[in-house]
Each structure stands twice: as C-alpha cells, then as structure tokens.
C-alpha cells in the first residue's frame, strides 16, 4: 500500500488515475444536463433556463480541481499511480522544473504553465477567478521578477483572506503599474508569435510552481464554494480591468474594447456605485413551520459591498433574503421607466427545491451577478434604492427610508378603481386624467376608463412614420434592432451552449480513452509479464507498456485541458446568454416610451374632443338668443376639464420626452456595451482556444517524442506553425 497517500490525495499526488478518477469522469458525464438541446424557438421562457444553465456552466467551470494536475506535473513530477501495486517512479521522467531548466521557455510554455494567454490578461481575470492575481503577476512580468515576486505574496493574501480579486488587484495596480501597461494591450498590439511573450515566460518559469501552489490553496481551502465563486467573480474581475483601462491604457487596441466610452453617465463618478464590488455569500437557511406541516423557510445571503477604487466609502455587509431582492427589482422597475434594467433572477415555483443546496448555490451566484450588474449601470448603480439595499442594517421592511421609497399609491386599490369606473360610466365622475396621473403609467387594474381610452386610441390607425418626429422614428427602428438582436443572440447562445457541450463531451471522451489505456498498461504490467517471460520479450513488453502509458497520460492531460477550456469558454460565452437575458428588459424599456406616447396622445385627443364640444355648444348657444343656463353650466364644466387636461398634456409630453431621452441614452449605451463586450468576449474566446491548442500541441509533441517519433516527424507535425510564423515576419 505504498501508494496510499497518493491515492488519498489525487489532486496533489500527481493524479492517481484510479477508480475515483473514473468515477469523477463518469459522474461528470452523468451531470451533463441532458436534453438541453431542446430550445426550440426564440421564446423567452427559455431565458430563465438559459441563465440557469449559464450558472451551471459556471459551476462546471469551477470543477477545476484538476488544474492541479499541471502543478503536480511541475512540482511533483510526472508520477502516475494507477493502483496500489503499480507506481511509476517519477525519476524516469523529467519534472517540470527540469524541463524548464533544460530548455528555453517557449511560447507554449507560457501558456502551458501560466494559463494566461499572451494577448490578454482579461482572460485570466475573467475566466479564472482564483487565478487572476497570479496571471496578472505573470503577464506583467515584462519587468521580470519583480512582478512575479509581487505576485507571490499576493496569491497568499488571496488564499488567506478570501478577498475578491478586485480588491486583491489593487496592490499590483500600485506596485506594478508601469509593467502593467507595458505588458498590457498596448504592448501586445501585434505579437510576433513566439518571441514577444518570452520575457513574460521567464518570470512564469521562475516562479512557476511556487506561485501556483499558493494559488491553488485558495481553491482547496474554499472548496465547493470556490466553484461558484469562480463564476460569480467574473464580472467584478472584468470590471476592475475596465477601470484600469480607463485610467492607464489609452492603447490603440482598446478601441475595440474601448471601455472609456462605455458609461456616458458616470465615467469617473466618485459617488457613483459603479465601482463597487459586491459579493453574495454565506447562505443561511431559516426554517419556518409552514401550513399543513410542510416545512417552509427561507434563505438569507450575506451581501458585502466594497469600493473598488480607494474611496471613502466603507465596506458594508448586510443580510438579505430573496424576497427583498424582489422588492428591490419592483421598486427599480416602477421608478426607472425607459431604462434597460438587468433582469432579476427567477423565482422558483417549486417549494421543495428552494432549500436544496444546489439551488441555493445557483441562486447565490445569480444574485451576486444581478447586484453587480445593477451596480455597473450608470443610473441604477447610483440609485437610492440600491444604496439602501446595500447599506441598511436589518430587514428592509423595518427601514423608514426604504419604505419611503415605495411609490405613492395613486390610482388606489382595485376596489376603488371599480367604484370609480362605475361613476365614470354614469357620468358622475369627470374621467379627466389629471396631471399627477398623467405622469404615471396607466394602471390597467385600477384605472379602467383610462385604459379603455388608451386601448381605443391605440386601435386607431397608428400614426404613419412620416408624421412622427425623426427621433421617435429612430427609436421605433431601435425596437426592431433590439428584436433582431434578440433573435441573433438566441441563436448565438444556443450555438454557444452546444459548443460548450461538445467541448465538454470531447474532453470527457479523451479522458476515458486515456483511462482505458492506463488500465491496459496495468493489466500488461500485472499479467502480461507472464507472456513476456514465456516468449522472452520482456523488452518489447516494457516498451509497449511505456508507450501505452505515455499516450494514456497525454490523453488525460489533453482531457484536463479540454475540461478547463470548457469551463473558460462557458464563462466567456455566457456573455451571449447575459445579453439575451437583457433583451426583454430593453424591449420593456422601449415599450415604456410607447406607452407614455400613447398616454400623451390620448390626453391630447381628449382635450381636443372637449374643446370641440365647447365650440359646438357655443355655436349652438349663439343661435338661441339669451342662451341657456344649463348649456352655460356645461360649457363652464368643460372649460374646467380643458384646463386640467391642458396641464395633463404638458405633463404627459414631458414624461414622454424624458423617457425618450432615457431610451436614447440606454440604446446608445446598449449598442456600445454590447459591441465592446462581445468583441472582448470574442477576443478572449480566441485567446483561450489558441492557448488550448498550443498547450495540446505541447502535450502531443511531447507524447510523440516519448513514443520515439523522429525529429523530422516532429518537425513535420508542427510545420504549419513555423510556416505561418515565417509568413508573418
């Protein structure tokens, strides 16, 4: 049982490919959400599922414990234990340290061990929550070991305090500023393939294993929650980098990803909430006795808010339950008409599921992302609602300030509405939209008369495009644009999902084939010796065992890279799902303007109708000499209505103009952010895939070499890369 220790700690011990690993693979396979290919059509019902999947992907991405393999390859050698009786001694194979010492670090190395593709440090920060401090250190290694050394304590700090990377990144921002920009986008404008990133690689090679380890201890320590965290940290990480971009790098490449143009409302706003990093952690279940002995209960989450940049804002921590998130969303929805409000995570209808750990974790991630999205919004991020939500101690329902944010109850209850409606029918109530009402959207449930009028109005032939002002026309077009975008995003996000699934299955099968080969080698070792003895072919048998083992190992390594890449891609491509989720909100914001316009038009026509009535009455009254007292009274009443309506028209117009302005801002913000986010997503995706294939190439070249391929064969295999490099130069 010499290998007991190794088996007990498969993550550290160079990977014990035993049953556990097999189980791991198969359970992984089993966990693949089945039947998720059935998104038929663009219906929005899918969104919740898509977003749910997204979170599952994130969780999947967090299933990254195998990252350690590469550490172990580096630190502990290539020892592979397969069962109790068989351990390949590590001495036969060079450890990573030796490899690094033996040959000059290459481009592949930097990718292989650094995980930070040369082009892009966003990748590391966004994709690998736990990684980014490290990779940041590495990639900024242009100022060689300083930065790398800086990265070391930094890694430790993260592991000790579990700080989100955004905060943890402040130190390198200060200590490594020059190199940051140096190694950042600007300097990497046009990489010349292999030569340019070498400097960074040196640092990576020097610090390699050590730093790695400190980094991984983060993963280990935080265990399952790290999985979720990885995903949930993503937005904050990227936002942090954006901030850095604004402040430090006016690089030409930044054009495409140009964050500086992103927030027209609050680029550097000191008091704005945009530069907050919000974490949602530590779900606590509260059991409550429900009706009929059904156990009810709810979960509260710890919401912690920190400023990203050094600021006077102190860190705040509050406990919130989902219901309070719902109220927050309602308040925002009611108050911020015309804005594209990020959608709140779905409610869950099934009571029983609400308390399961998996669901709580999914919701935790979703809530964290939701709050961060809100905080990034130029207006919502600075809203009083969000501020109170993040800052008020205790239950929100107990807070006077919070309660005062609730909208005044204008139209009254349904009951009042019904009473008023019957009066309006009988003509007892004047059914005049007063200015206060005109500034509010129609409440179908409580103001039937107005709803009926507006519906009738909307039934009339819509105003032709030519009669509309050009900015209104532009916004009508915008709606079509958003709808088209929604369609394209739906297709894109489904394709992305399938791609991620495909990658995932691909990696699993690689791993399984690798395991089969390793098992075959085991059988060979345990029983094949008999045949080898019998036939005097120990040598051949030995070399076959070696070859089988090497190929099996290469397959498994490739599989692990594949799985990691799957996770990274899932996180990157999630961008598509997110925007898809935002599209209904955008459409809703645009519809708010339609409605406001409808109200204004209805009030206007009401006004016109009454003016006409007055004119008719006056015309009729003029003929009858002396007039008619009843008629005069009616005219007076109508004049009163007209006065009210005139004010209402002004208010409704103003409201429409306001929403229109908001719509315009939001549209340009959406276009801008969408473009920059999708472009940087694409960039990161390309970087990930490039890094993945580079690392795989490394693995396969090494494997082929170990399997006695000749130099010429190896050269031929990578010939195309060399050609393309030559071509580039």
């Amino acid at each position: 049982m010499a290998s007991k220790g190794i088996i007990a700690d498969p993550l550290r011990g160079g990977g014990a490919f035993d049953d556990q690993d097999m189980e791991d693979l198969t359970s992984h396979l089993a966990n693949l959400p089945a039947g998720r290919t059935s998104h038929d059509g663009l219906d929005l019902v899918d969104h919740s599922e898509l977003l749910g999947n997204l979170d599952r992907f994130r969780a999947l991405a967090g299933d990254d414990s195998h990252d350690d393999l590469f550490v172990s390859y580096g630190g502990l050698g290539l020892g592979l234990s397969v069962s109790d009786s068989t351990i390949i001694t590590t001495t036969n194979y060079p450890t990573y340290g030796e490899l690094a010492a033996a040959k000059p670090p290459s481009y592949e190395d930097s990718i292989m061990y650094d995980q930070a593709p040369p082009l892009d440090m966003h990748i590391a920060s966004v994709a690998g929550g736990d990684m980014d401090p490290l990779s940041a250190g590495h990639s900024s290694g242009a100022g060689p070991s300083d930065a790398a050394v800086a990265a070391r304590p930094l890694g430790k700090r993260v592991s000790e305090q579990q700080l989100p990377p955004a905060v943890a990144m402040a130190p390198p921002g200060t200590s490594g500023n020059p190199s940051w920009t140096g190694a950042g986008w600007a300097a990497r404008g046009v990489p010349s393939g292999a030569s340019e990133p070498q400097a960074a690689t040196v640092a990576a090679a020097v610090t390699g294993p050590g730093v790695r380890h400190s980094g991984f201890s983060t993963t280990d320590a935080s265990g399952p929650s790290a999985a979720g965290r990885l995903g949930s940290l993503a937005p904050s990480g990227s936002a942090a980098l954006r901030l850095d971009d604004i402040q430090q790098s006016p690089s030409p490449v930044a054009h495409g990803i140009a964050p500086s143009a992103r927030h027209p409302g609050g680029g550097g706003g000191g008091g704005s909430f945009q530069h907050l990093s919000i974490t949602v952690t530590d779900p606590v279940k509260r059991e409550q006795g429900g009706l009929f002995g059904i156990k009810g209960g709810y979960v509260t989450y710890l919401v912690r808010t920190q400023a990203r940049a050094p600021s006077t804002r102190p860190e705040t921590t509050v406990r919130r339950r989902f219901r309070e998130f719902v109220v927050l969303a309602q308040l925002l929805k009611g108050k911020y008409r015309g804005y594209f409000i990020p959608p709140r995570p779905e409610k869950n209808a099934v009571e029983g599921q609400r308390m399961t750990d998996g669901f709580v974790e999914e919701r935790r991630i979703a809530l964290e992302r939701y709050l961060n999205k809100l905080a990034q919004h130029p207006v919502l991020g600075a809203s009083e609602e969000l501020r109170l939500f993040l800052e008020v101690d205790g239950e929100l329902a107990d807070s006077g300030a919070w309660l005062s944010l609730r909208p005044p109850n204008l139209g009254g209850s349904v009951l009042e509405g019904t009473a008023k409606f019957s009066k309006q029918i009988l003509g007892l109530d004047r059914a005049v939209t007063d200015p206060v009402q005109a500034s509010q959207p129609t409440k179908k449930a409580t103001d039937f008369m107005r709803a009926i009028k507006e519906t009738a109005r909307s039934m009339q032939s819509p105003p032709s495009a030519s009669s509309l002002p050009p900015d209104e026309v532009a916004l009508v077009r915008a709606k079509e644009e958003v709808e088209a975008l929604q369609g394209a995003l739906a297709i894109g996000s489904r394709a992305a999902e399938r791609l991620v699934n495909g990658l995932d299955r691909w990696s699993v099968v690689y791993g399984e084939l690798g395991l089969v080969l390793i098992q075959m080698r085991n059988a060979e070792k345990a029983d094949g010796v008999a045949l080898a003895h019998h036939t005097g072919t120990l040598k051949q048998s030995g070399s076959l065992m070696h070859d089988t083992d090497r190929l099996g190992t290469a397959l498994i390594r490739s599989s692990r890279i594949g799985r990691k890449v799957t996770g990274r891609c899932a996180i990157e491509l999630a961008c598509l799902h997110e925007y898809l989720g935002l599209m209904p909100a955008a459409l809703k914001g645009l519809r708010a303007r339609d409605k406001a316009l409808l109200t204004a038009d209805t009030v206007q026509s009401d006004l016109a109708g009454r003016r006409k009535a007055i004119a008719d009455l006056e015309a009729a009254g003029a003929k009858v000499l002396g007039g008619d007292a009843a008629k005069a009274k009616k005219v007076a009443e109508l004049n009163g209505d007209v006065a009210v309506l005139e004010q209402s028209v002004v208010v409704a117009r103003a409201r429409y103009d306001k929403i229109k302005e908001i719509n315009q801002q939001e549209m340009s913000r959406l276009r801008c952010e969408l473009r920059s986010d999708l472009l940087s997503m694409l960039h990161r995706y390309a970087s990930i895939m490039s890094a993945c294939s580079q690392r795989n190439l490394e693995i396969w070249l090494q494997a082929a070499e170990e399997l006695q391929a000749t130099k010429e064969q190896l050269q031929a295999a990578k010939a195309c890369l060399v050609e393309s490099d030559v071509h580039q130069q």
């Binding site: 394209a488 992305a496 691909w506 895939m689 993945c692």
Partner: protein
C-alpha cells in the same frame, strides 16, 4: 488555406501506419486489395475486389498477378488456414456485418477493403502461412479453378459444418467443461501454470482492446460533433456580427466565421483520420486476440483428447489386470483386451504428439504475436500522437490567425 491531408504528411516522412510493420517484416509479398465494385442487386448484392499480388516467392511463377475476389473468398482462405494450421494464430478477418452489408455504404466498403488488405498481407507475412497452398490458390487461381474450389468448400461446409458447426462447437465445449468438472479440471492441472496465466491475460487483453476501440469510436464521433458545433457557432456568430451596423463587430465576427470554419474542418478530418489510423487498428488488434483464442481452444481440445486417451488407457489397463486376475477366463478375451490396451496406448501417443505439436507451435506463435503486437501497437500509438500533434498545430495556427485578424481589425478600425 486547406491544411495538407494527413496521408501525405505521414507518407512523406516515412511514418508507417498500420501496415508497414507487416510489409517491413517481409517484402516477399506486396498485396493490394483495390477497386471495390458492387455486384448484383438487393439481397444477392456483394462487393468484388481486385487482389493484386507482387511477389518474389519461389512457388509463384509470375511476379505480378491480379484476381477478382469477394468477401466470401477471403473467408475461404481464412477458414482453410484455421482448419489446417492448428495452434497457429491465423490473422483475423473483418467482421461480417449483415446490416451494413446491405446498406453498402461507401465508407463501410472502404473500411472493409482496408481490413481485407491488412488480413491478406498478414497471412502473406506469416512465416508458415505464407507458404501455404491455400494462399497460393487464393492469389493465383483463375476464375474457373476458383469457382470449383469454392463450390467444393460450400458443399463440404453445408454438408457437415455449417448448420451444426456452432451448435456442435458449443456442445463440444460443454462436454469438455463437464468433463473438466468431473475430473477435477484434469486439463488445467496438466497444463503449465505459466500457460494458464498467459491464457487469462490474453482473455483480459481482449476486453481492454475492445474497450479501447469503443472509446476510440466515441472519440472520433465527439471530434466530429465538436466540429459541427463549431461550424454552427461560427454561423451564429456571423449572424450576430451582422446586427452591428457599424464595422467592428461585423468584421471581427466575420473573422471568427472564417477561422472557426477552418478549425471545424480540421476536426472533421481528424475524426476521419482517427477512424482509419487509430480505431481500425485497435479493432484489428482485438480481432487478433480472438485468433489467439481460437488457437488456445485448439490447444485445449488437444489436451482434452490427450487426457481422455490417458484415462481410457488407464481404465483399459485396469480391466486387463482384472481379467488376468480372474481365473478361468478365456485366453482370447484377454488377448482382445490386450489389443485394446495397445490401441489405446497408440491413441494416447498420437494425442500426446498432437498436443505437444500444438504446444510447441503456440510457443513460437505467441512469441511472434507478442513481438509484432508490441511493434505495431507502439507504431499506432505513436502515429496517433503525431497526428494529434499535427492537427493541434493546425488548430493553433487557425486560432492564432484569428487573434491576429482581430487585432488587425481593431488597429485598422481605430
């Protein structure tokens, strides 16, 4: 730019796949199975192949020869060789696949053509089988002669073997194992401990190889799926790019479309290459193990005949002794029993010889099998790694170019 096909790369640099161990061992024969042509209609349809032989073997008069053969004819060669060469590991035939046969899909035919070519080359490189008259007939017999042979064979098999063969074999095995139980696994005890270990190992190896082949099959399907998913994603991304009325997204996603399609094409090619260069050889290895098992079954039945002859002799000896001890028994009865004993003794000697011949043959065969297997398997594994390296290099190139495209687009756009 299309990446170069794997075949050309592999050939250019002398990397052998799958066949070369065979041809490298013996250049006496070079046999090509080519030009599959579908003959006949519906149920009676079959595929004929041209079998072209280039040889330096003394028994062959012409250095070049070409005959037309179909799968059934290869089966003739295989069965005859198995029948006449007990204890030898006769190279395996590809499976008969009733379902696929009727579909006659081109890739199935191509797959089978390769497998048949491997089979016949393996026979021709086998130290004993290459000299067999069966191979000579197969490679050289003209149409008439060949039809005659086949007719004879079909008559034989339908007369005795075919309908009963499977059942008879099963019955024989049953009988044998029952006997083994009764006699306290007498054969096992007579068999070398070492051989038993080998036998168990071979049996487990078959499982491993079959599993490896199954996984390789999944692998190539997943590789193709991934390619398809990537193509789909590329199209979706292009569509998304078109939503942006201004340039940058349109250009960038257009680049993605182009490059991702290139990489997807690589995946598809890789999938096909895995089928030919990895999955098919693994399958053939698994089949070869089955051939080894056939040889082992021959050995087991020879041993069983031997031990049966022994117990027969023993019982006859006992009977003789009993008769001798019984006074007043007729002389001729005793003489008859003595004759029986002598006959049984002769049978025992024959059985012993038969068993020992097979045993010795197998020792050589296992040796050859082991060496060939190790070399071939290593070559297949190495070629797989090389082809993977090649494919990933192409992929890396594709993604690298995408990155460059994107950067140029970003710089150009600013």
């Amino acid at each position: 730019m299309d990446p170069p096909p794997y075949e050309s790369v592999l050939q250019d640099h002398g990397s052998n796949n799958f066949f070369s161990p065979v041809t490298a061992v013996s250049k006496e024969f070079e046999i090509e199975v080519a030009d599959p042509v579908k003959q006949g209609e519906s149920v009676a349809a079959y595929v004929s192949y041209k079998v072209r032989t280039k040889t330096t073997h003394v028994k062959y008069h012409a250095p070049f020869n070409e005959v037309t053969r179909r799968f059934r004819d290869f089966a003739w060669l295989h069965d005859k060789l198995v029948e006449k060469n007990k204890g030898h590991i006769v190279p395996p035939l590809p499976e008969k696949s009733a379902v696929q046969k009727y579909q006659m899909a081109t890739d199935f035919i191509e797959q089978r053509r390769r497998a048949l070519q491997v089979f016949v080359n393996r026979v021709a490189s086998h130290p004993v089988l290459k000299d067999s008259s069966e191979l000579e007939t197969f490679l050289q017999a003209n149409e008439e002669h060949w039809m005659l042979e086949i007719a004879k064979w079909q008559a034989e098999t339908s007369a005795q073997h075919r309908p009963v063969s499977a059942a008879a074999q099963w019955f024989k095995n049953l009988q044998h194992s029952a006997q083994s139980l009764v006699s306290g696994r007498a054969d096992e005890m007579q068999e070398d401990a070492e051989y038993i270990k080998i036998r168990d190992y071979i049996n487990s190896l078959e499982g491993h190889l079959t599993e490896a082949h199954r996984q390789a099959g999944r692998l190539l399907r997943k590789e193709a799926d991934l390619g398809a998913a990537l193509t789909e994603f590329a199209s979706a991304a292009e569509l998304l790019g078109k939503q942006d009325n201004e340039g940058p997204m349109r250009v960038a996603f257009g680049c993605l479309y182009t490059r991702a399609n290139e990489v997807a094409a690589l995946s598809r090619m890789r999938s096909e290459a895995i089928a030919v260069e990895f999955a098919a050889p693994l399958k053939e290895f698994a089949r070869t193990i089955k051939s080894v098992q056939v040889a082992m079954a021959d050995r087991a039945s020879a041993l069983s005949a031997y031990s049966q002859a022994k117990s027969d002799l023993d019982s006859k000896k006992v009977r003789l002794a009993k008769f001798r001890g019984t006074p007043g028994l007729k002389e001729d009865k005793i003489a008859e029993t003595e004759r029986d004993v002598n006959e049984a003794d002769q049978r025992l000697r024959n059985a012993k010889l038969g068993y020992e011949t097979i045993r010795d043959t197998m020792r050589e065969e296992l040796n050859r099998f082991q060496k060939e297997r190790a070399a071939e398997m290593s070559a297949v594994l190495r070629d797989f790694a090389l082809a993977q390296a090649h494919s990933t290099a192409e992929q890396a190139k594709g993604w690298g170019e995408l990155l460059r495209d994107l950067q140029q687009a970003a710089v150009g756009g600013s």
